[in-house]
């Protein structure tokens, strides 16, 4: 792709500063939207662009906005989900810290489209620097009248608040985020009703991911056709792929939607580190099924991934080489979900704990043959059985590890521990 949209700071130094951003057509899209388009025309363009949510679920953003009730006398809120906490995921952070104004401009346009006069940026507590970047950028923008009262003389008012979370993965779940923003424990809500109907403070609310909102200015500026021309029709647009793990050049790559996973790993991330063999990839953060080397020709877009029983998720790609113990890897994944389960629903509260305990037992060589089936059964009973999808996010990768790398799990039982570890230790002993 010629020029970065989301990672534009790689092309234009200091784009996070307002004067630089303005010098590069910054806030032109917002001005255009607020002064020449009706809110419903903005929504229509976003709908037409087929922008799908970048938080992981891939729900069409324009359609989501359309769920707002038309006849409500309550205020509408926008919540920008900047609680980026998914393992192996660091795309939003880059936008927040380096390309701050594109996010703010996206928020401004979106608020105009959904008729919200208050927006909250819910940023995870650990992103202290990101929060500072947002505050600074906002202060600059307020100073230029880009936020506040009567923006661009359009009569449209908007206040934006940065709210720092206090460190829980569940705050990234949209209804957990809303509860947390209301000052409560981040307990996800039972849905329906969905936030568009009953959200923040009981009012209609749209929750959109940072990357999703950052796409909005370019749609207004270049038109929906331009956006749709990037990547597959069913889910187009620019996309940040974040690659971590056993690769030569880990990092972020802005590429069109639908890139083959193999290309991302080998052409952009420089291939497997130290010339080793690829063993497994978690292509979508940690919450979705793992892929084996023979599956990596898949195209990284929502529908292609679904076709092979996987998900695009956040496109946070975690690469594992041949020396990786899959039992240990899964133990780390499930430790995370055990730690982050909010404790509301018993299948998740109890289930994530049990998955982790059983995996520790297997990893330490104390597992029993029936443990593997027990893990699988717990997963089956967790999935689709809780208020939010955190239980599914733990169960899905777990079941895929068991299915795709079953031999390794069995070997941990029969050999009383990790065969790889033993293999690694033996030469020294010899």
């Amino acid at each position: 792709m010629a020029e970065n949209v989301l990672l534009r700071h790689e092309d234009v130094p200091d784009i996070h500063k307002l004067d630089v951003y303005l010098a590069h057509d910054g806030y032109a899209a917002a001005r255009q939207a607020l002064t020449t388009l009706k809110p419903e025309e903005v929504t229509a363009q976003v709908k037409e662009s087929n922008l799908r949510g970048r938080g992981g679920a891939g729900f069409p953003a324009g359609v989501k906005w359309g769920f707002l009730p038309k006849d409500s006398d309550k205020p509408v809120y926008l919540c920008c989900n900047a609680d980026e906490s998914e393992p192996g995921t660091f795309k939003d952070r880059a936008i927040i810290e380096k390309n701050t104004h594109i996010l703010l401009e996206g928020i401004l346009i979106t608020c105009y489209a959904i008729n919200a006069h208050t927006a909250y940026i819910y940023i995870r507590g650990e992103f202290a620097y990101g929060a500072k970047c947002l505050e600074q950028a906002l202060a600059e923008a307020y100073g230029q009248g880009l936020f506040g009262k009567d923006i661009f003389g359009s009569g449209f008012d908007l206040e934006v608040y940065v709210h720092r979370g206090a460190g829980a993965y569940i705050c990234g779940e949209e209804t957990g985020l809303i509860e947390s923003l209301e000052g409560k424990r981040a307990y996800p809500r039972i849905k329906p009703p969905f936030p568009a109907v009953y959200g923040l403070f009981g009012c209609p609310t749209i929750v959109n991911n940072v990357e999703t909102l950052a796409c909005v200015p370019s749609i207004i500026k270049n038109g929906p056709d331009w956006f749709r021309s990037i990547g597959p029709e069913s889910g187009p647009g620019p996309k940040i792929y974040g690659v971590s793990g056993h690769v030569e050049k880990p990092g972020m790559f802005e590429l069109p939607m639908g890139m083959p996973l193999r290309e991302v790993i080998y052409d952009y991330a420089g291939g497997i580190k130290d010339g080793k063999q690829l063993k497994a990839v978690m292509p979508a953060g940690s919450s979705f099924p793992v892929l084996t080397p023979d599956e990596i020709d898949v195209h990284m877009d929502f529908d292609s991934m679904r076709a092979i029983g996987a998900f695009l998720g956040t496109a946070g790609i975690i690469v594992m080489d041949e020396d990786t113990c899959m039992v240990r890897a899964l133990e780390i994944v499930d430790r995370f979900y055990h730690h982050e389960s909010c404790g509301q629903c018993s299948p998740c509260r109890e289930g994530t704990g049990w998955l982790h305990k059983l995996l520790v037992r297997l990893e330490e060589g104390n597992g029993k043959a029936e443990d593997i089936d027990l893990i699988d059964r717990i997963c089956t009973n967790m999935m689709g059985n809780t208020v939010c999808v955190l239980a599914d996010a733990a169960a899905m990768p777990t079941q895929s590890y068991l299915t795709k790398f079953r031999d390794e799990f069995v070997a941990h039982v029969t050999e009383g521990g990790c065969p790889l570890k033993k293999a690694a230790v033996q030469p020294e002993a010899a």
Partner: protein, 917 residues
């Protein structure tokens, strides 16, 4: 993608292949249960918001990927639901197994819901090892906390936060470390827990239970009855074994919906206290009566000797008869009790009127709402509440003035807090900031004694801003011009410096009250116990009348009744100027009617009130008294005065459970029965007549009060033949027309019926005055109130204002609650609440002994910091005999209601250094 709309019609859906219907708003779980299908559930409990967290109740809905929590899901037309499909069953069982693995095998309850469901679904020994569980916590005197039996269902949390709105129980940490905590993980006993026990009642596994393993004893029987404490009238169930109450649980009564407070739930063992009187006592000859009370209630043998019932009754009645025959009936008086049943009150006043031949009969209503009742009778023709507490759910604006409802009407307060949480405007007006203020949209901390200034300023605003209800005023009231003239000089701006509330706040509250679709006013003793108590109530009535905020659901006037039967005792005629149903004794026609009913001629003169009776004794006009269940030696103002009077009586008969401070002056004491020991009706603050059933036999020779009154009557020459309580009730029903439709048998089947109720099929009238007022012409009257000051204002010598009142744990003079082990453990010592800055200025610290003196007396008690007070205000609960607040109070009376000014007198405060040493 929208919320499932609640249809007004039943929904039909398929439940395990069977076509069934769900009522509007009913969930799958509720509908299934109604159709005989019990779906496993743990975190769901009737009355609590469904939370859907345990997932034991999941069912399969055809066409949906995830399983649905049946406790939260409302079925849609045609939905196909499988409750026992393989997938649903599998999930249900896995949940039960995981939860079962966490809890210890120790049993804390006889009825663990987890174990019941595990058995029903045939769960074997779990395959999982238990998680680490918190240590047991025995820090609370009433509640045992064993979180090793906790399954994190959060029912206790919802009970604490959403039902009772006490906000003590929280859920800390996350994932498998998640646990129930009190405040910030304090031991329950040192947390801000108010001991209502709602969490215990909500807990499905015994993790929260009554202390001392009371829940592990199988009761012989359970008896449905009524709480013996306040006017809220909570229905409850006694769990009894071997003539002892094991525990008390809340019942789904119309005024409490299963809720109770610490007194109702845990304050029952006073009835087995060693001080309980079990034999009649006669004063030993030659023992003088002294105002210094030195008798030990545990061993009164220095002063009293035991006697047989025959001897005691002959002596008791004989002494009264002698005075009557020698000095006339006006030389006698009786105090009945608002703690007794309607039947007891009725018979007692009948005894005084027909046996003594006088109307000198009164009870503690004189000390609580006499002024409210005078104002209400004069203004709208009825002293009872116009609307029930439950109406807060329909109101838009709720004013609570001069009432510490969270402590004195705790369960009623929970419904007010629920309403506030539901977004209604709660306005709390009180010189002392109490717990309820925490939930209020407006809290007006006005200066003590300035109620009329504040309320007239509200009326001024309503008139000035054109917010009056003109049509209501024209059609249903008289005298509006008087009010208009009267409040003209009471602009909020002028009253701001008088009452201490910003003019704009007064205006905002006035606007809100006047313009809300429904506004209610609740008030308590803070309004009534002033020499301008009647004026205070007149203002409240005028507010409601000028805005038309009465006569509809969610509006009205509600003087919160203190005692469990103060409404009923007043209805039954324990009032010196009125026969039953407020029929004036000086009305010829009325008197003839009662003379016909009772078959004797009656005294045409109104009798004396409580304080007037004491004055009459000291004036040598009154020589003998019969006191049933009242304790004027603790509850009257200026106790020296009251005690001098009691000591001066020639003959005093006291009928009570304990040797109270009043009984210390008795010539004969008759041991009576406690509420759980008798059957009778009690009328709560909402005008609900409710049936209490006998659960226990009285101890020793103690007897039922109705029997004792009849024995006394016989000895005073009355030929009474009441075979049971029902017979007394049915006679009373002839005297009180509003009970016409409430027969004894109806009460036996329904437990609670609201009056007025004219026929057996009349459901009762929760909202009265809808069309007219029960005045002679059906029209309500405005009565203006001028601003007058308290009788005794602070000065250089006595610079503090003393406000008296109650505590959550203690009931009135403490005769019952200070002998209830749990309640006395929570509040064991007399305290004096003082503003922290005042305490500092006195060079004192919390816990120091303070001496408070007024012109009438002096007491010493421990300092407690109370930032809810204003500077130079002192609050003292009057339940502690060792530091009786009423030694200090002023007996000045409201001229209309004859109510003493308990809420205002001047005192001085000092740190008591000598006692510390």
């Amino acid at each position: 993608m929208t919320a499932v709309p609640e249809s007004a019609k039943p929904t039909s859906f398929l439940l395990d292949g069977r076509a069934v219907d769900a009522l509007p708003g009913e969930t799958i779980l509720q509908a299934a249960r109604r159709h005989g299908v019990d779906i496993p559930h743990l975190c769901y409990k009737d009355g609590l918001r469904p939370d859907g967290n345990c997932r034991a109740c999941v069912v399969e809905v055809k066409g949906e990927r995830p399983l649905a929590p049946s406790c939260c899901r409302i079925p849609q037309e045609g939905m196909e639901v499988a409750t026992t499909s393989e997938r649903a069953r599998h999930s249900q069982k896995m949940v039960l197994e995981l939860l079962l693995s966490d809890v210890v095998e120790t049993t804390y309850t006889l009825g663990s819901e987890l174990e019941t469901w595990a058995r029903a679904l045939e769960i074997d020994t779990p395959r999982f090892a238990p998680r680490r569980q918190p240590e047991p916590d025995a820090s609370h005197p009433a509640i045992a906390v064993n979180l090793d039996a906790c399954i994190q269902c959060t029912r206790c949390q919802r009970a604490c936060r959403e039902e009772q709105v006490n906000d003590v129980i929280g859920y800390a940490l996350r994932g498998s470390q998640a646990k129930i905590i009190f405040d910030v993980d304090d031991p329950m006993g040192s947390s801000s827990c108010v001991g209502c026990g709602e969490c215990v009642q909500a807990c499905p596994t015994g993790a929260l239970m009554p202390a001392k393993e009371a829940g592990l004893i199988e009761p012989d029987k359970t008896v449905d009855s009524v709480c013996p404490y306040c006017g809220v009238g909570c229905l409850l169930t006694y769990h009894v074994k071997d003539n002892t109450i094991l525990q008390v649980t809340g019942r789904d009564g119309p005024s409490n919906h299963g809720r109770l407070c610490v007194k109702g739930r845990y304050g029952f063992d006073y009835i087995t206290h060693p001080h309980r009187l079990t034999r009649p006592l006669i004063r030993k000859s030659g023992i003088p009566k002294s105002t210094e009370i030195t008798i030990d209630p545990a061993d009164p043998s220095d002063v009293f000797r035991e006697a047989s019932w025959e001897e005691a009754l002959d002596f008791a009645a004989g002494g009264l008869k002698k005075i009557r025959d020698e000095k006339g009936g006006q030389a006698l008086a009786g105090f009945g009790s608002a703690k007794g049943s309607n039947e007891e009150a009725y018979l007692f006043q009948k005894l005084v009127r027909t046996g003594f031949g006088t109307n000198n009969v009164d009870h503690c209503t004189r000390l609580c709402h006499a002024s409210s009742v005078v104002a209400l009778l004069e203004g709208i023709g009825s002293g009872a509440v116009s609307n029930q507490v439950a109406d807060v759910a329909e109101a838009e604006c709720i004013i609570v003035i001069g009432s510490n409802a969270s402590e004195n009407h705790p369960v009623a307060a929970t419904f007010m807090k629920n309403a506030a949480k539901a977004g209604k405007t709660l306005v709390v007006m009180d010189p002392r900031r109490t717990e309820l203020a925490r939930h209020a949209s407006y809290y007006l901390q006005f200066k003590p004694d300035t109620d009329v200034a504040l309320l007239n300023a509200m009326m001024h605003t309503i008139i000035e801003e054109g917010l009056v209800h003109q049509e209501f005023i024209e059609q249903r009231t008289a005298g509006f011009d008087l009010i208009k003239q009267n409040v003209a000089g009471f602009s909020p701006e002028e009253m701001e410096p008088v009452c201490g509330i910003a003019a704009e706040t007064i205006r905002e509250v006035a606007r809100r009250y006047a313009t809300a679709s429904g506004s209610m006013i609740f008030w308590g003793m803070g309004v009534s116990q002033h020499i301008h108590g009647t004026d205070n109530a007149r203002c409240l009535i005028a507010l409601a009348l000028m805005t038309g905020q009465i006569g509809r659901p969610g509006t009205g006037l509600h003087p919160l009744r203190g005692q469990n039967n103060v409404q009923g005792a007043s209805d039954a005629g324990l009032i010196p100027m009125m026969f039953p149903e407020y029929q004036r004794v000086d009305n010829e026609e009325v008197r003839q009617r009662f003379e016909a009913l009772w078959g004797v001629s009656l005294d045409p003169q109104a009798g004396l009130t409580v304080v007037e009776i004491m004055d009459a004794i000291l004036d040598d006009r009154l020589h003998g008294m019969y006191i049933m269940g009242e304790n004027p030696a603790m509850s009257d103002p200026n106790l020296h005065h009251a005690r001098q009077a009691l000591a001066k009586l020639d003959h005093l008969v006291v009928q009570d459970l304990f040797l109270t401070e009043t009984a210390a002056f008795a010539d004969v004491i008759l041991p009576a029965s406690a509420l759980p020991e008798k059957t009778g009706t009690f009328t709560n603050t909402d005008r609900r007549v409710q049936l209490a059933r006998k659960a226990l036999d009285p101890p020793g020779q103690a007897r039922q009060d109705l029997d004792i009154i009849q024995e006394m009557a016989r000895r005073l020459g009355l030929d009474w033949q009441y075979h049971d309580t029902a017979a007394v009730y049915e006679e009373m029903r002839q005297a009180i027309s509003a009970l016409g439709g409430i027969s004894w048998s109806r009460l036996e089947s329904q437990d609670s019926v609201t009056y007025p109720c004219w026929t057996e099929d009349d459901p009762g009238r929760p909202v009265v005055f809808q069309k007219d007022f029960p005045t002679s012409d059906g029209i309500a009257r405005f009565v203006p109130a001028r601003l007058i000051h308290a009788d005794e204002l602070p000065d250089a010598e006595f610079p503090f204002v003393l406000i008296t009142g109650r505590q959550l744990e203690h009931w009135h003079t403490g005769a019952m609650t200070r002998r209830a082990s749990v309640l006395n453990a929570i509040e064991p010592q007399p305290v004096i609440n003082v503003h922290p800055e005042d305490l500092t200025a006195l060079d004192g610290a919390e816990g120091d002994l303070l001496t408070i003196a007024s012109r009438r007396g002096e007491i010493t008690a421990y300092a407690r910091v109370d930032a809810g007070l204003q500077r130079n205000e002192i609050f003292i609960p009057f339940c502690y005999q060792e530091a009786a607040a009423n030694l200090l109070t002023n007996e000045a009376l409201d001229p209309y209601g004859k109510i003493p000014e308990f809420k205002y007198c001047a005192v001085r405060v000092s740190v008591n250094r000598t006692a510390e040493a």
